[in-house]
Symmetry: C2
């Protein structure tokens, strides 16, 4: 009954309300963290009431799962223009700019929405599994690009696109964490430079 993305029993108005709740929760949790965000804050920010929240979600934990899904979609959507062209150094460099611009947009506050959720929630099994899946989805775009490069014979034989993707993602996450701690885009820039150099090094 809860946690339904598609309109099974829900009307258009209901879905809109649900979406408003998730959007408000995602913003607040991005800014302050999951634990530091109360349901009352979410209700105030979304202009809804307790009964509505519990009409659409089983509880806070369930809402958090919806937030994870939403943030995953948003992160991927924000990179969408670049994600499908990660099959060349030029494409990776364009993606690099996009990722860094995104951090600048938020003044280096909050870091990576997915990464922040992962840091806070990966002690709990269910959110952790969902977040692992989010990373995997993100990584799949990198893997697709690297696989295309390998298919064109641009990658040294024996290079595993999946391993390469994990390394690059690690660089993004670590760079984003240091960026939000130091309030400077520099760490993210350096980490991404390293990662792209790493890819280039596998080329031949």
């Amino acid at each position: 009954m809860t946690n339904v993305e598609t309109a099974s029993h829900h009307t258009a108005r209901g879905m809109a309300t649900r979406a408003r709740i998730v959007a408000a929760a995602a913003d607040l949790m991005f800014a302050a963290g999951v634990a530091a965000t109360s349901l009352d804050q979410v209700l105030a920010a979304s202009g809804t009431s307790k009964s509505q929240l519990y009409h659409y979600f089983a509880g806070k934990d369930d809402l958090v799962l919806a937030v994870i899904r939403r943030q995953t979609e948003r992160v991927l959507a924000a990179q969408e223009p670049h994600l499908r062209q990660l099959d060349s150094i030029a494409g990776l460099l364009r993606w690099r700019e996009g990722v860094i611009d995104l951090q600048r947009l938020h003044d280096c506050v909050g870091g990576c929405p997915i990464g922040s959720l992962a840091a806070e929630l990966s002690a709990s099994p269910v959110p952790r599994a969902l977040l692992a899946e989010s990373f995997q989805r993100w990584g799949s775009y990198l893997i697709a690009g690297f696989t295309a490069m390998a298919g064109r014979g641009e990658l040294a034989p024996g290079t595993d696109p999946a391993d390469l993707a994990v390394a690059v993602l690690s660089a993004v996450q670590g760079g984003a964490l240091l960026t939000k701690t130091t309030r400077s885009t520099r760490p993210l820039e350096l980490a991404l430079d390293m990662a792209i150099e790493h890819v280039r090094r596998q080329m031949r």
Copy 2:
């Protein structure tokens, strides 16, 4: 009056009590996060009472600062055998093993103690500043190693040891985050491999 590491007004017994509180808090917060750890849990785990905690700390925020300091010391101490020999690829590889073993020791739960605190606390100015300092201290060991390499002419001219250190630290943090999310040491291994390759690339 609070937050005194050295024995200004405190007796040996008092300092021991204080240390027990910080130790218990650090362990609990490492396992579950800062927000998810209550003072009552800390008291129970340390065998102390409310009045003692508030005798040594101004409040939870103040206790958290002490926890940051303690975890920083612990992380650096755990790497101590390797930290002073980061001036060669061989030294970096030994350090790599140490870092990975540490994650294995905790079954990939919790990630990097400093990184986890940074992810949760870098929205608040005071903890954030302290954590930035912790990263800088950590990085200073890397910088020392790279500077020694540069002094021996092993690094390509124009290579900035500080930039190199930030990139390597980013890899560790990102690798640790993915490691705790996927419950596998693989991401950390791949990230560290990439980072060390990155250093090697700046050589000669």
